[in-house]
């Protein structure tokens, strides 16, 4: 990047332009303090010099009229697409030479290719056989140089293992085997690499060689200690998991992390993991439950509701209790109300309740609960609370929609005209259109629900005795 090109200006060319050079450098703020003072002194004394400066400055300011280019919205996408297509083509071309129209061209190309292949093969052989001794010796270091550089020392690796997040009780078999390969086996491994892997390895090797000797030595030392450690399989697993974890960190956080010393870095790793797990729990709570798990969840929560109903009612604040008592004839609303009251008391779902649910839900939902389990009972309660509220809201919304359909518009108009009190009319004045409809409907069923034995025109269903009341 810093090579001087052949066509750089000669010194003699520049001498004629000393005055302009000086003025331009002054305008660009590239003169040092003393030189700038000399220029300023001359500006104040020499009219011609001053005029020259003004003209240069004016011409420079005129460039401001040039617009900056606007880029269309799809330009970036087309650029990325073009790069993807080009990359695919490069891959295809590497493996498949397209047929040529003319025989001569074909032959020439064939000969060139053969020569190229032979030459390439010889070069690769030369490269991999002459330097292979060194490459093979450092193969594992080279393959893992980035992550080793991030880990730095065996102490840090052991400390990472202690974080828990990166260590597993069981690791896949073979995790230790690579570390135990002999030099001959490693050499065989390199010789069996395909062209693309060899090219990548070569690029890694060049990067490794570009490191300072002390840095290379530190990486080798880490790898050597790792090999000798009795717990090599688990530690290799930690290396891999830490490397994967680093890759998903935002770039700024990754570099901030790498600039910290060992203790501070470890502390930051813990903080970041805690934050990620917190986010994962929030995310799990926001996820849409699998359709098959919705009735399972409803049955489960209804069982708890039945069991604890007396206790929940006893703990309701007086105002809420009064509202609940007014919901006569509205079984669904009463249940939803109680459920809401129940889940808002966070500690309602007990360990054994959750364990019962885990046995019944689908694998995906179970996995989410198991992930939350690592963060304790409270985290699982939080996820379950979100799910139950979502289901209650969804079912209540569906219920209100069905209610609305079951009452004719004329009947509602009559109700508003004849039965609403002045106070109720005033309440409606402050509500939105949707809220007005919902509120009228609620008052309607509060006024008439108790008198009706079947308030909804439900579709005919085959009765199932085992289903809880809330979903019947």
């Amino acid at each position: 990047m810093n090579n001087r090109p052949l066509n750089a200006p000669q010194f003699s060319e520049r001498e004629d332009l000393t005055v302009e050079e000086e003025l331009v450098a002054y305008l660009d703020g590239e003169l040092d303090g003393a030189a700038a003072i000399l220029v300023e002194r001359r500006i104040s004394e020499d009219r011609k010099y001053r005029q020259q400066l003004q003209k240069l400055q004016h011409a420079w300011e005129l460039l401001d009229v040039l617009p900056t280019s606007e880029v269309s919205e799809d330009f970036a996408q087309s650029t990325v697409d073009m790069v993807v297509v080009s990359a695919q083509q490069a891959v295809e071309e590497a493996g498949l030479i397209a047929p040529r129209k003319h025989l001569l061209k074909k032959m020439l190309l064939g000969v060139t290719l053969c020569l190229g292949c032979v030459l390439g093969y010889l070069l690769l052989m030369f490269y991999f056989e002459s330097d292979n001794r060194y490459l093979v010796q450092d193969l594992e270091v080279i393959e893992n140089m980035d992550v080793y550089a991030h880990i730095g020392s065996m102490q840090f690796l052991k400390a990472l293992q202690g974080v828990g997040y990166f260590s597993r009780d069981e690791v896949a078999s073979g995790r230790e085997s690579q570390a135990m390969l002999s030099v001959d086996e490693l050499e065989l491994h390199v010789s069996q690499m395909n062209a693309s892997d060899k090219q990548q390895m070569q690029s890694q090797y060049e990067r490794f060689l570009a490191l300072e000797e002390a840095d290379r030595q530190a990486l080798r030392q880490l790898q050597s200690q790792l090999r000798k450690d009795a717990d090599v399989a688990h530690l290799n697993d930690v290396v891999e998991r830490y490397s994967d974890w680093l890759k998903v960190l935002p770039a700024n956080e990754r570099y901030e992390l790498l600039s910290l010393d060992r203790e501070a870095r470890l502390e930051r790793v813990r903080e970041l993991i805690a934050r990620q797990e917190e986010q994962a729990i929030e995310h799990a709570g926001r996820l849409q439950l699998a359709r098959a798990d919705v009735p399972v969840l409803v049955r489960w929560v209804t069982e708890i509701l039945r069991r604890d109903e007396v206790e929940i009612l006893a703990k309701l604040p007086p105002k809420a209790r009064k509202r609940f008592d007014q919901m006569t004839g509205l079984e669904m609303q009463r249940r939803s109300f109680l459920l809401r009251a129940m889940v808002q008391a966070d500690s309602r779902f007990k360990e054994q309740d959750i364990r019962r649910l885990v046995e019944k839900v689908s694998g995906k939902t179970r996995l989410l609960l198991e992930k939350a389990e690592k963060r304790g009972l409270e985290a699982r309660q939080k996820v379950l609370k979100e799910w139950v509220l979502k289901v209650v809201d969804g079912r209540q919304q569906a219920y209100v929609t069905r209610l609305r359909r079951s009452v004719g518009a004329k009947e509602l108009q009559r109700f508003v005209k004849e039965e609403l009190t002045l106070e109720q009319r005033r309440t409606l004045e402050n509500l939105s259109q949707d809220e007005i409809k919902q509120r009228i409907l609620r008052w309607y069923w509060q006024a008439h629900g108790g008198k009706m034995t079947t308030p909804l025109r439900e579709p005919v269903r085959k009765p199932r005795d085992d289903r809880p009341a809330i979903i019947q």
Binding site: M1, N2, N3, R4, P5, A8, P9, E13, R14, L17, E20, E21, L23, V24, A25, L27, D28, E30, K55, L56, H58, A59, W60, L62, L63, V65, L66, P67, T68, S69, E70, V71, F75, A76, S78, T79, V80, M82, V83, S86, A87, A90, A149, Q200, S203, E206, R207, A210, L211, E212, D215, K247, A251, N252, R254, Y255, L258, S259
Partner: protein, 222 residues
């Protein structure tokens, strides 16, 4: 050769270097982010450097393609923008050389919103007022573009990097692979030539001869 310390220093100082390192790790989102951050900046410089919008767009895409292809070899040895504009400068220079070999006629800045339409241009040309006619605000851009096009390719690129990218002499030197004194000389000659080209307009507000062709001869982009 870039040392590890240098690389880490640039990575810590320059967020775009960090993005590029993610691109090296095959992170497509990081690449897209770089495209979004730099496409307009590159296009501005290249459009004025080569004088054609379509060609500049092709060059911008080619720059990003080169960046992508070079990702595995990337070692931070400068600010990311310096590295990117080095690629852009090399591509623009090659492109200009190919054009001059093909002896193409340079129809500057076609497609610009400030350029006159062919018929209007013809009317102006036939009015007898050129070249001493007063230049109005809508034509100022065309006058300046014509003046820029009158510079040599290297002078023009140095000027654009200095003006649009606000690069220091050192950064321009790195980008254009020159020494700092050479950049100093290049920029001073560029600015003197620019001043000379614009002098008639600056003194009397009249249309300089160099922009007659541009105003009268606007044609299709390619």
């Amino acid at each position: 050769m870039v040392t590890d310390t240098t690389a880490l220093r640039y990575a810590q100082q320059d967020p775009d270097v960090r993005l590029m390192l993610q691109v090296r790790d095959d992170n497509a989102t990081a690449f897209e982010e770089l495209v979004l951050r730099y496409q307009a900046r590159l296009l501005s410089v290249l459009e004025h450097a080569v004088g054609r919008r379509g060609q500049a767009e092709d060059l911008v895409q080619e720059v990003f393609l080169r960046v992508f292809r070079a990702r595995k070899r990337y070692q931070p040895g400068a600010k990311f923008s310096t590295w990117l504009f080095t690629i852009a400068n090399n591509l623009a220079s090659n492109s200009q050389r190919s054009r001059s070999r093909r002896k193409e006629v340079n129809i500057a800045s076609a497609g610009s919103t400030t350029s006159l339409q062919p018929l209007e241009g013809m009317a102006i040309a036939e009015s007898g007022l050129m070249p001493t006619r007063q230049v109005d605000a809508s034509e100022r851009g065309a006058v300046v573009r014509a003046a820029i096009q009158s510079l040599s390719d290297r002078q023009r690129m140095a000027l654009l990097l200095c003006k649009f990218e606000e690069m220091s002499y050192v950064e321009i030197a790195e980008t254009m692979e020159l020494t700092v004194p050479a950049v100093k000389s290049l920029l001073s000659r560029a600015r003197v030539n620019l001043k000379d080209a614009l002098e008639p307009y600056m003194q009397d507000g009249v249309l300089p001869r160099s922009s007659v062709d541009e105003l009268g001869g606007v044609g299709p982009d390619e």
